[in-house]
């Protein structure tokens, strides 16, 4: 019988040589006359171990890593497919501390299955949710999603069920489901890994959304920086159409649903839902004023569900296992699991899915094992470029929407970026403003002009010019941007700046945090 060997095809794994390892494994197997079945799976999310090779013996998977192409010859010489004694052997994959302590719901199949095998998908629980949904009314599906407590995973955390109900109740012959896969936050890659590792989950989730609210067409807006994800999703949609999952008759029912991919073109603000709609319509990605809500007047002015990849990918599981199961996970107000992405200067970075409420300390120090550089941690930025810099003394904060808000932070898309003690927080504050200059859509003044003024005034503080006065001016500017911007771009850029200033006044050569310095 052929020996099953898994080598990830995830782009992060390929970025450190997974393709070369796969090729070498094929060559060595042929040379040694060993019958293998090579599966290119998604990544298990232990990115520091990539390329991580797995073998399957009696339905149990064993991991080896990180494997370089130069290790392959020796792996075969020591018959790694038979025993677990090679120096690169890590043991049973599921029993590794990183895996064992997670509760994978959204990511349950990522890294496990062949991403483009629909039979693999089905045999691992895929399509059950959709089959259940097809027996329900739209109202019942929406109620199930509402009941689960699922909140938007893009950043804002808005309850998905409420959004869906608005679209359901809005009468129109044409409605849309749009998936926001414009994952632009630095430190986040869960959307990308899900699309590359388990694309049918997203397709199934969007199809359920379409059936629930009466939309027959969906768009996935993927950023152009993710060519591999675009390729995998495109292939998956093609396969789903051939299979009858998508098309005029979804799984043989009287419901129709079709999907199309549109790529972004290098604009961060297009991750904001209304800017994304403009971009999907082929226009400049300029933010729209709300109301009208996209749920009422969205894409091409039609009622539109807009959800993030992880939100939609959580839906099949809710419909297959029931709302109650999902609801039992997490904290009182933050239900279910969150896919954390541990990144930056970190020894063990990757995907960690766990119920809400885990602390930053557990994520960064226990699972992440501290910095890559071996130096002390100085700050962690949670929630992408618009998130706060959190100092080490606040590491016991629980990671849920409410607790983070209480310390002036936000969870965003679940990105956790670690910085060691060499970071200069005044430079990071300045970068936050520079980023806003680059990426502002230009519609509203506080964001468009405020960001440029912000860069200037931070420079002056760094250079020691009229320090007290300029700090005062900066704080005033941050208030104006927070209160006066149309969307999160201008509205949240003050978060990293303010948190840097308040938590690390010494980096601005201030004797105490800003209120004392005035």
């Amino acid at each position: 019988m052929a020996i099953k060997i898994f080598v990830p095809i995830d782009d992060a794994a390929c970025s450190v040589g997974a393709n070369e390892v796969a090729l070498e494994i094929k060559t060595e197997a042929e040379k040694n006359n060993i019958d293998i079945e090579l599966v290119r799976n998604g990544s298990r999310g232990m990115l520091w171990l990539e390329p991580m090779v797995e073998i399957e013996i009696e339905n149990i998977r064993y991991a080896f890593g990180p494997v370089s192409k130069n290790d392959v010859k020796d792996l075969f010489a020591q018959e790694f497919y038979k025993n677990n004694t090679h120096p690169l052997a890590l043991g049973e994959t599921e029993k590794l501390p990183w895996m064992k302590n997670q509760q994978r719901i959204t990511f349950q199949r990522v890294g496990v299955i062949d991403p483009l095998s629909i039979s693999d998908y089905e045999s691992h629980g895929g399509l059950t949710g959709l089959r259940n949904a097809l027996k329900l009314t739209g109202e019942q599906i929406v109620s199930e999603v509402t009941e689960s407590g699922l909140r938007g995973r893009g950043g804002a955390g808005f309850p998905a069920g409420i959004k869906w109900r608005t679209v359901l109740k809005t009468e129109n012959s044409q409605k849309y489901v749009c998936c926001n896969a414009d994952e632009g936050d630095s430190g986040t890659f869960a959307d990308r890994m899900l699309m590359e590792g388990d694309p049918f989950t997203l397709i199934e989730g969007m199809t359920i959304a379409g059936i629930a609210v009466g939309a027959n067409k969906g768009f996935i807006y993927i950023r152009s920086e993710y060519p591999a994800a675009i390729k995998t999703m495109t292939n998956a949609i093609k396969i789903a159409k051939e299979f009858g999952l998508l098309g005029a008759s979804v799984l043989g029912s009287d419901k129709s649903f079709d999907l199309e991919i549109r790529a972004g073109a290098g604009s961060y603000v297009c991750g904001e839902e209304t800017a994304m709609l403009e971009s999907l319509e082929g226009k400049r990605g300029v933010v729209r004023a709300k109301p009208p809500l996209p749920a009422i007047e969205g894409l091409f002015n039609k009622p539109t569900i807009i959800n993030n990849v992880l939100t939609l990918a959580s839906v099949p599981m809710i419909l297959s296992e029931g709302a109650q199961m999902y609801k039992n996970l997490g904290t009182e107000k933050s239900k279910g699991t969150q896919v954390f992405q541990i990144a930056g200067n970190i020894k063990q970075g990757g995907i960690f899915e766990t119920p809400f409420g885990v602390t930053l300390n557990e994520l960064v120090n226990n699972y992440g094992a501290g910095t890559l550089s071996g130096k002390k941690i100085k700050a962690v930025q949670v929630g992408g470029p618009l998130g706060s810099y959190i100092p080490v003394n606040k590491f016991d904060t629980a990671m849920d929407y409410e607790s983070l808000a209480s310390i002036g932070g936000m969870l965003g898309h679940g990105g956790v970026v670690v910085f060691d003690e060499t970071v200069d927080m005044a430079q990071q504050a300045k970068f936050a403003m520079e980023f806003c200059v680059e990426e502002s859509c230009g519609k509203c003044t506080p964001c468009r002009i405020g960001s440029t003024r912000g860069v200037e005034v931070i420079e002056k503080i760094i250079n020691g010019q009229n320090k007290a006065e300029n700090v005062h001016l900066l704080l005033d500017l941050l208030d104006v941007m927070t209160d006066g911007s149309l969307c999160a771009m201008g509205g949240l850029t003050p978060l990293p700046v303010r948190s840097a200033l308040e938590n690390f006044p010494e980096d601005f050569a201030l004797v105490s945090s800003p209120n004392g310095a005035q």
């Binding site: 890659f189 591999a228 972004g264």
Partner: protein, 164 residues
């Protein structure tokens, strides 16, 4: 798409019209038409803007507006190979500022410009989604983890060989 020695097709208004004509039937076509144009010719020629406006039944100003809004688009003929270095926070934390300098030196190219022989274009990008294996870079569509100037230059020279 072109063959291995040319990658991009030479621009002509006629070729652009053939390429863009089908977009007349698409909803919200302008961005798609611009993306298709850049993929085919490597950049968006001034004449292509006119063709897109005509086919999509919008003003030249509108097409120009979309073209200049998105950082992916180029309006001058492109170098064969594009190198993008991530300069966002996660990569900053593991030395992207140094990587920018190293890549510039290794490729003999300044940021946002082309090498002397016009074969390589160096750009910065905010996030490639490889934030646990930074600093990250991308050479054409090949993602590079734990990138160094040397590693990038090596991949560039490999690709150059394929084109030669």
């Amino acid at each position: 798409m072109g063959n291995s020695t040319t990658k991009f097709q030479p621009f002509s208004k006629e070729a652009a019209l053939n390429l863009i004509a089908p977009f007349a039937r698409v909803e919200g076509p302008v961005l798609l038409a611009l993306q298709a144009t850049q993929k085919e010719f490597g950049y968006v020629d001034r004449d292509a803007v006119e063709v897109i406006a005509e086919v999509c039944n919008v003003s030249i100003a509108e097409v120009h507006g979309v073209l200049t809004y998105y950082s992916d688009f180029r309006t001058i003929p492109a170098a064969k190979i594009e190198v993008k270095v991530c300069v966002a926070e996660a990569c900053q934390s593991v030395g992207s500022r140094k990587l920018v300098a190293d890549a510039s030196a290794a490729l003999n190219t300044k940021m946002h410009s082309q090498s002397m022989d016009e074969s390589v274009q160096l750009n910065q990008v905010f996030c490639l989604g490889n934030c646990a294996l930074g600093p990250a870079a991308m050479v054409d569509e090949k993602l590079v983890g734990r990138a160094t100037g040397e590693k990038i230059a090596e991949i560039v020279s490999q690709i150059k060989k394929e084109y030669a």
